[in-house]
Symmetry: D2
Subunit: 337 residues, 4 copies
């Protein structure tokens, strides 16, 4: 960390900062410029608290040097992490496609969708049993029954199942029915939940918050990793901007950036990322070309009847067409589908 002193800082103030640094067991390098003094701090391995220094008299600001994440970083773990679950390898050579409805609405709806996405080549079935909805008057999911329907679909199709968990105390229940636990965008900062999934034995699909930085996403992954669960899959799903024609702005650069900063697999959600089914196919191709390890796509047998997110769901025939259209791009980047 670097401490930038104010132009008018006194020698005594510089000495105070120096003393505090040494008290923390760190080394000091002082650079006295024409306009101001800069104090470099060589840490002892533990992250330093910037604010502690920013409040000292004579200090203008501090500048962090090291990235705040460790376990999630490439420095700590240079080779790619491949999350293997139920025979599916996420982060390997194969592009993994997760597909299914936003919410489990009925046994018929889910089983029908499961069969069509399986047939079209999907590897993982998605579907929410517990839905965090902005309005208390919207459909909140089927709950336990939804979990049982997902488990039945898994049995029938052999698909791996991912579903969202929204409360710490539900983790064990959800883990008995699902293969992968999803932490949704609205819960990326729910540390109690991150703690709970970190202690579970299930892989976790961690979605980026709609207003969270790439660094914060990696810090959320760090929470899970630091509680002992190293099977974390990152998911870019669009961030909030001033643009209004799309529901969110999918941050495509985040895909190669995350792959460079971290060893964890990266999946893209083009359905939430755009909010419009017409954009799902081109954006899916873009995600694959940018290096994503997988996609998570909303498919609904009758989008116009969907109880949530219908506008961004693909009909089964369009999902099959998407899989066809992906194949040449997948091969162009040296992967398999």
């Amino acid at each position: 960390m670097i401490v930038v002193m104010k132009q008018e800082a006194t020698g005594a103030q510089v000495a105070d900062v120096t003393a505090r640094v040494e008290q923390l067991g760190c080394q000091v390098h002082i650079s006295e410029g024409k306009e101001r003094t800069i104090i470099g701090i060589i840490g002892n391995g533990r992250p330093l608290d910037r604010e502690q220094f920013e409040r000292m008299d004579g200090v203008e600001r501090t500048v962090p040097i090291l990235r705040p994440f460790k376990l999630a970083g490439r420095g700590f773990h240079p080779q790619d992490t491949v999350v293997t679950v139920n025979g599916v390898q996420i982060g390997g050579r194969q592009l993994v496609v997760m597909a299914g409805p936003c919410a489990v609405e009925s046994r018929e709806q889910l089983l029908a969708t499961a069969h069509v996405v399986k047939e079209a080549g999907a590897h993982v079935l998605r579907g929410g049993a517990f839905k965090p909805r902005t309005s208390p008057y919207s459909f909140q999911g089927l709950g336990d029954e939804g979990l049982r329907i997902l488990a039945e679909a898994r049995e029938q199709t052999g698909l791996t199942v991912v579903t969202e968990v929204i409360e710490p105390q539900m983790v064990s229940l959800v883990a008995t029915h699902a293969d992968i636990l999803q932490v949704g965008a609205r819960n990326m900062h729910n540390y109690a939940l991150l703690h709970a999934v970190g202690e579970s034995q299930r892989p976790v699909l961690l979605k980026r918050g709609m207003m969270s930085t790439v660094e914060e996403l990696l810090m959320a992954a760090e929470y899970i990793l630091s509680h002992g669960n190293n099977r974390v899959i990152l998911c870019e799903r669009g961030i909030r901007t001033f643009e209004r024609y799309t529901r969110f702005t999918l941050d495509i650069s985040a895909v190669p950036l995350l792959k460079q900063l971290s060893h964890l697999p990266v999946v893209v959600d083009p359905s939430h990322g755009t909010g419009k089914w017409e954009l799902v196919e081109p954006v899916s191709r873009a995600a694959v070309a940018a290096g994503a390890d997988g996609l998570i796509v909303e498919v609904h047998p009758h989008p116009e009847d969907a109880l949530s997110d219908g506008a961004q769901s693909l009909r089964p025939t369009r999902f099959a067409a998407l899989m066809q259209s992906l194949r040449p791009v997948v091969e162009a980047v040296g992967r398999t589908l």
Copy 2:
């Protein structure tokens, strides 16, 4: 709601939409323009699901007409709600000042702060026992012990106590020690938590998410209100933008906007809203002038030793100066301090 048909929509597609509207028990008004047909839907009181229509063939988009919140809106409850707790009236004529450290760090720190803020004229003591922190390596709060220290401070000073609750199952524990339950910005979308505080008997200080619109804040309030707790206090605490000199961008317009849209009291957090103690005083004055019913300000006896958010905390002398500087503005808008 209004359904805008595509330019090339067929008569059959218009008929399909019409049929669905009638099936939902709503009335239809069709306007056939030169370029396209517009279908107005007169609802039956229940909110309509836009996505259901957006996915129908021939539909270009839908346009909501009514605000999605009911219980939180002025229409439902025209007169101001005044939340009375422990003798303090929030939303009345008096400007309510909540002050204290970001986190309870020790008995000494909290009691010292409680006494100085009380003396300077604060009405409510703030302090976090459970801290949601971006990094798993940062101080996470004293937990239960922090709650007991807060309760002791209340006993010694008579101050009303507000503290954050971060998990649904903690609500009853926190409610036994604190007067007001705070739902933090990172948890504004944590619906399980909103549900839990909605069933509690304690007033709730609901902070706007750093990524949330004014409408979403009111919808989060709606969750709490719809579970039976009508003592909700809204809090503007800054939103995330591209500006980098401040930690967040405090949305001052949200204060009069919330007062116009809703009957609930509105409090402003200038400490998180700016992230810089130098800006707390002018922004506090602005909040009062804009019509805020209260302020929540971070005060720490030794900000440079603070375990969190030191850079935005006021020293006791500066807090006392803030209270002095607020008084003429409070009077200028016809309130008392």
Copy 3:
């Protein structure tokens, strides 16, 4: 357009709105709901002024129905526009690659770059003679001399030349030396400049403002088109968001969205869009996969000596590698390079 009346609006207020609509030669459709009256306006072809209605007594808000652009829209011109310049077809089957330094710094630098990008397969040479820079102390470009150097490079290599024009009165000068006029992101809202390039005979590369919506980009194109120049190429180059690891957030969804809304060709700038040369290759592949008609990439023979934007420029060898890596993706989407 739709006018939503306030809940408490009187019959006289509804009548006032109706009278004004009819005065404008438009038709009225009134829908009286339980909670409020909605007035649909069937226009006469000309766009209506929403604000005029929003300020009338009893009006809550207005809702636009039609997109505000005409000439730039698909409705007006269903087939793709192909801009042909100097033998290069932009918007056709071939992916067009524009490459070169951010700024023309010297004859040697530009000619060297021109030859290497030509050899690697680029079709268009980019390079700024006039540079809009945030700081008055930064390099502002070589001016006229830069234009002459660009013209010489065109003669030597046969490459088509695109360069930025920053003032209306410079348009004719720049048009004598360059094949394509670039309107930069900071000038997308400079209407005097849009007017001037609209009256020129040269194709225009119009970059999206870093703060501009897709709709505003299309409206800026509308300015140029409405002044008689129908050879406009749109360019997505990243928008400003809260994310700090990248310089801008490249809006990949804007590519298919613009192709759906408009008939104009769409080019992507992965260099400015990310600000990091390490991200240029994956993001370029993503742009092609999403349907971009071209790329505009910064290449500098010695990025560490570049007078501007060095951090996002590719070395010649890396540019050659990019071209190689693009080829399979270009073919996967059915195009040629």
Copy 4:
């Protein structure tokens, strides 16, 4: 500036950076940490080019230490600048109120407005003769005739006149009719225009771009100051965010922040900043309480007939009420109206 080397950087790479620093006539301070080497550069007064270093092998990133603005900064000019024009002092003890219509629409409209705002206590008359509009089909202003009408209003009322200039070559024309030249938000990055107004003898009202940082606003002021015009008035007018109930998000913290960083006067535009006339009064009070030196408010005799921005314009009676409501707040912060 500080250069952070990569973890795997070699000694030779560190030596290369060092050599380049010395070549620029700057001093080097090297700090070798456990994980990486940090190189501090003590400049020679001129700003350093970060990108030059960021592209060198072995460099991870650079960190600026000094603010990039000089002439606009408090360090250069510690005492407040007071811009005196036509007897009005902007930046002094008196709060300066600028008022008038968005656009000059007719002689009658402007003269009527001028008289009512004068009577209500405004000091400066605003009104646009040249209007930058998003749509080519919207009213673009009366042009020269508008300027003559403004000059007539000045003669009749004695009010100082501010009007927007949108092209460099118009500066001298506008300067013959107006007292203060306004550079609009869409032109904050129009460097040719900043250059031109920098060479004029008129004070300049410089509006913050809707997506520009505080630092960029100060850099735009730096352009004007560096061309010899030191009478610059900064204007906060709202920035673009994801919030949709208001047209922009007024950044209230920018007011005290600009006053701390710069010696230039700061004015707030609550009309554009909110886009809703209902919010103008509370936000104006907030701006005064936050330390603004002035306000610029849209007033229109018949907002429902306004050719632009009617929704945010005050009627004359509401403007008079605003002036009354401001008075106690102005006095509360020790100023006069």
